[in-house]
């Protein structure tokens, strides 16, 4: 069965195609079942192939036909299931399956469930193409495909203007990154002459690609990654993307698509390793994003927007890992993050569902007893992301920060540690506001509060277990013997370049991480349980800082002033002057000319048979004359 790994993307793809072609003929139930079934089949196939790799095989490969052949350049549908792709494929299909199952209940009352499941399947298809591509051009196909599906799913409720606008914003911001990606891709194609990842990494490693060009290509590709993974300065689309259905946020905007940038950097680890400058850029962008986005999450009142900023911040951690040479640690955090963040989103979705669509935390509170399954699941996720010892987030975040410290990147380490405090703080602010304290919801909404049906709670439980224990595969706190199962599994694909710190330092670092997590939780307890008036007083004390955070550092306002408004103005000018006058003028002019010519020529059409025959005769005489002369 492992031979069939190339069906992993194709099964959801085929399901999406069927759902899109025959959408009207599907009943709600059939569409949901088919979509879930397709992703589950895909998961089983991926698991079988994974088992084969775990048995020692390096990679499974399958070359489907060549689809671009231009001169000496060829790109083929070549899929490779190596260890990196295996981890990612399991995450995508595993979390994907749970989200699909969850969606059957969450979207049960929606108007267009078939369209929803078609897009979700299509997303899974493109994401798996992105993951399994062994060729950067094919990966770009998946890359653009997930972007398209992201747009379609953010704007799924397109009759809400905010959702349609958010979808558009995500698409346009991603275009900026993708343009850079494309330029970087072309640099690599012209310089390396091949589009396969093996060739690119190989050329970078053995020096055929000069350091300057490697840096250029790596930074351009990383610019693409910042777009997809919502890193500063292209992070602005992700908070708005929360207009989409919550399961979509869990799958696309937490677990899978937004981490595609990290995956890209992992895939091209040879290229990034060849360019210390590009690696430094990756690490710094990640560190700044991790801290800045965590600070923004402090002041959000929408439960999903808090999680969105949290996602941006956590992806920053992953980039720190990739940038300081601990690529495997970055991927490890990607995996654990996929579990606990999709858990948090799905649990938040359960809360929203229970409250009949309410997303504002100021109108929540006291839900701890009312949602007996959602609350503990959410709590596990919150503890995991905060880095409380022995839960998954603790191990993965610690692996990254330790590597940063060991590599001598002390400022980056400091930013990461600060972000860890902030993370614990905003997560428990969220927990206290939502689940503790007095109930602040509208009275009639309060009456209907109910725990979600089993299709929603079972995925929550599974994810909670994974979020709690999945960190153990990366356990390497035992000094001396490297017990890091995860890192060793990936060693042949992601060679470790960073150093491990000395054992005493490592223990100190672990204690620091634990302390920062507990500090954040403690502060949240103080602010939102002990003396709930404190946040408002603090905001009043530092109005400038507060407004800076509420407005997201004015990044959106700046983009609006510098890019959007001049663009709209310019487009308006072009429309009025070029479109209306020049193009429409030329069009109307040529139409008028054709009309005039038609009127003139219609005089020839006398309607008399004899006149037509005369023209015919004239033609015959001329023709015969030409033949004879």
């Amino acid at each position: 069965m492992d031979r069939l790994f190339w069906l992993v993307p194709l099964v959801p793809g085929a399901s999406a195609l069927l759902l899109m072609l025959f959408g009207r003929r599907y009943s709600r139930r059939a569409a949901a079942w088919q979509a879930c079934g397709a992703v589950l089949v895909s998961f089983v196939l991926a698991a079988a192939a994974f088992a084969r790799l775990a048995g020692g095989q390096a990679a499974l490969e399958k070359v489907l036909p060549v689809w671009i052949s231009a001169g000496s350049f060829e790109a083929s549908f070549s899929l490779a299931f190596d260890r990196l792709a295996a981890v990612m494929a399991l995450v995508v299909t595993g979390v994907g399956s749970l989200v699909h199952v969850y969606s059957t209940s969450y979207m049960a009352d929606d108007k267009a469930p078939t369209r929803y499941f078609a897009f979700l399947n299509l997303f899974t298809f493109f994401m798996l193409v992105l993951v399994l591509a062994s060729d950067i051009v094919l990966m770009f196909v998946g890359w653009e495909g997930v972007g398209l599906c992201s747009y379609l799913l953010i704007g799924f409720w397109f009759d809400r203007p905010a959702a349609a606008r958010a979808g558009l914003k995500a698409f346009v911001v991603n275009r900026v990154g993708d343009a850079a990606f494309l330029v970087g891709l072309l640099v690599l194609l012209t310089q390396v002459g091949s589009s396969s990842f093996a060739a690119i990494n190989g050329a970078a490693r053995d020096g055929r690609l000069s350091a300057g060009l490697a840096t250029l290509a790596a930074i351009l590709l990383f610019a693409g990654a910042t777009g997809k993974s919502a890193q500063i300065p292209l992070h602005v689309w992700l908070p708005d993307a929360m207009e989409g259905p919550t399961p979509v946020s869990a799958l696309i905007h937490a677990a899978t698509m937004v981490t595609a940038g990290v995956y890209l950097v992992c895939r091209l680890n040879g290229l990034f390793a060849a360019s210390p400058a590009a690696s430094a850029v990756v690490a710094w962008v990640g560190a700044v994003t991790a801290a800045a986005a965590a600070a923004l999450a402090l002041v959000q009142n929408d439960i999903k927007r808090v999680l969105a900023y949290s996602t941006i911040s956590q992806i920053g951690y992953m980039f720190i890992g990739c940038g300081v040479g601990a690529t495997a640690a970055g991927l490890f955090h990607l995996t654990t993050h996929a579990f606990f963040k999709s858990l948090l989103f799905l649990a938040a979705g359960s809360v929203i569902h229970a409250l009949g669509g309410e997303q504002d935390m100021r109108r929540m509170g006291g839900l701890r007893r009312r949602l007996p399954l959602t609350f503990p699941a959410f709590l596990v996720g919150a503890l995991a992301i905060s880095g409380v010892p022995f839960l998954s987030g603790f191990f993965s975040k610690d692996a990254i920060l330790t590597s940063a410290f060991a590599g001598g990147h002390y400022v980056i380490y400091g930013l990461g540690l600060a972000a860890a405090v902030l993370t614990a703080f905003y997560m428990f602010r969220l927990v206290y506001l939502t689940f503790y304290g007095p109930a602040r919801m509208e009275p009639e909404a309060g009456l209907h509060i109910h725990e979600s049906p089993r299709a929603m709670t079972v995925p929550l439980i599974i994810l909670a277990v994974l979020a709690a224990v999945s960190g153990l595969v990366g356990l390497r706190v035992l000094p001396g013997e490297p017990a890091d199962l995860f890192g060793r599994f990936l060693e042949q694909v992601l060679p470790r370049t960073g150093r491990y710190p000395a054992p005493p330092t490592e223990i100190a670092l672990i204690l620091a991480a634990t302390a920062s997590a507990l500090l954040g939780i403690g502060l949240a307890f103080l602010f939102y349980r002990r003396s709930p008036g404190l946040p408002a007083r603090l905001a009043g004390r530092f109005p400038g800082a507060y407004r800076l955070l509420v407005n997201g550092y004015y990044v959106d306002a700046a983009y609006d002033a510098v890019v959007v408004r001049p663009l709209v103005k310019g487009a308006g000018w072009t429309y009025r002057n070029l479109d209306l006058r020049l193009i429409d003028g030329a069009l109307n002019g040529s139409a008028a000319g054709a009309d005039l010519a038609g009127r003139g020529l219609s005089a020839v059409q006398s309607g008399l048979v004899r006149d037509y025959a005369l023209a015919f005769l004239l033609g015959t005489v001329i023709f015969l004359g030409v033949v004879l002369l």
Partner: protein, 166 residues
């Protein structure tokens, strides 16, 4: 002898067509054409083409022109008198027709000068040969013309046979 036959037949033929041009009665015109086509059939015979001659007389002079005569009888003949003549068009047409005649003559001289075909042909009189030809080399055209005639019958019925057409 053959020369005399040729001269007489061609004279009859040209005269009949000329008479058709000058006459104003469509019924007379049709009869003139019968004469012209019959004479043409004789000329075909003179060219050693007995099959073409027979087909000409039976189908053209016989069947087709009778069809024309039937059609003529359906119309009010007096209404077909010409009312006015457009001299300019007629003059232009005559000039072009003269030019065409000159060109055709020139073409004829060139062709006969090049090939100089003997006008006698024993093979052309061989009916069995023609039959074989029709059912071998010309099989597809033959079948297609059969289909065409069939379609023409159906088309004519559909066009003229409608009761509501008036």
């Amino acid at each position: 002898m053959t020369l005399a036959v040729f001269v007489v037949l061609s004279a009859v033929c040209v005269a009949a067509v000329a008479a058709m041009i000058l006459s104003r009665n469509p019924a007379d015109n049709a009869l003139f054409l019968v004469v012209a086509f019959a004479a043409l059939g004789g000329l075909f015979g003179l060219l050693d083409s007995p099959f073409a001659a027979v087909a000409q007389v039976l189908v053209y002079a016989g069947a087709i022109m009778v069809l024309f005569l039937f059609a003529v009888m359906m119309f009010d003949l007096r209404r077909l008198e010409p009312r006015s003549r457009k001299r300019v068009r007629l003059g232009l047409a005559s000039a072009l027709a003269a030019l065409l005649l000159a060109e055709l003559a020139l073409a004829g001289i060139r062709i006969s000068g090049l090939a100089g075909p003997a006008w006698r042909s024993a093979e052309a009189r061989d009916m069995a040969r023609l039959g074989r030809l029709l059912f071998t080399d010309y099989l597809y055209p033959l079948e297609i013309s059969a289909l065409l005639l069939m379609a023409a019958i159906a088309g004519a019925l559909a066009l003229a046979g409608r009761k509501d057409a008036g």
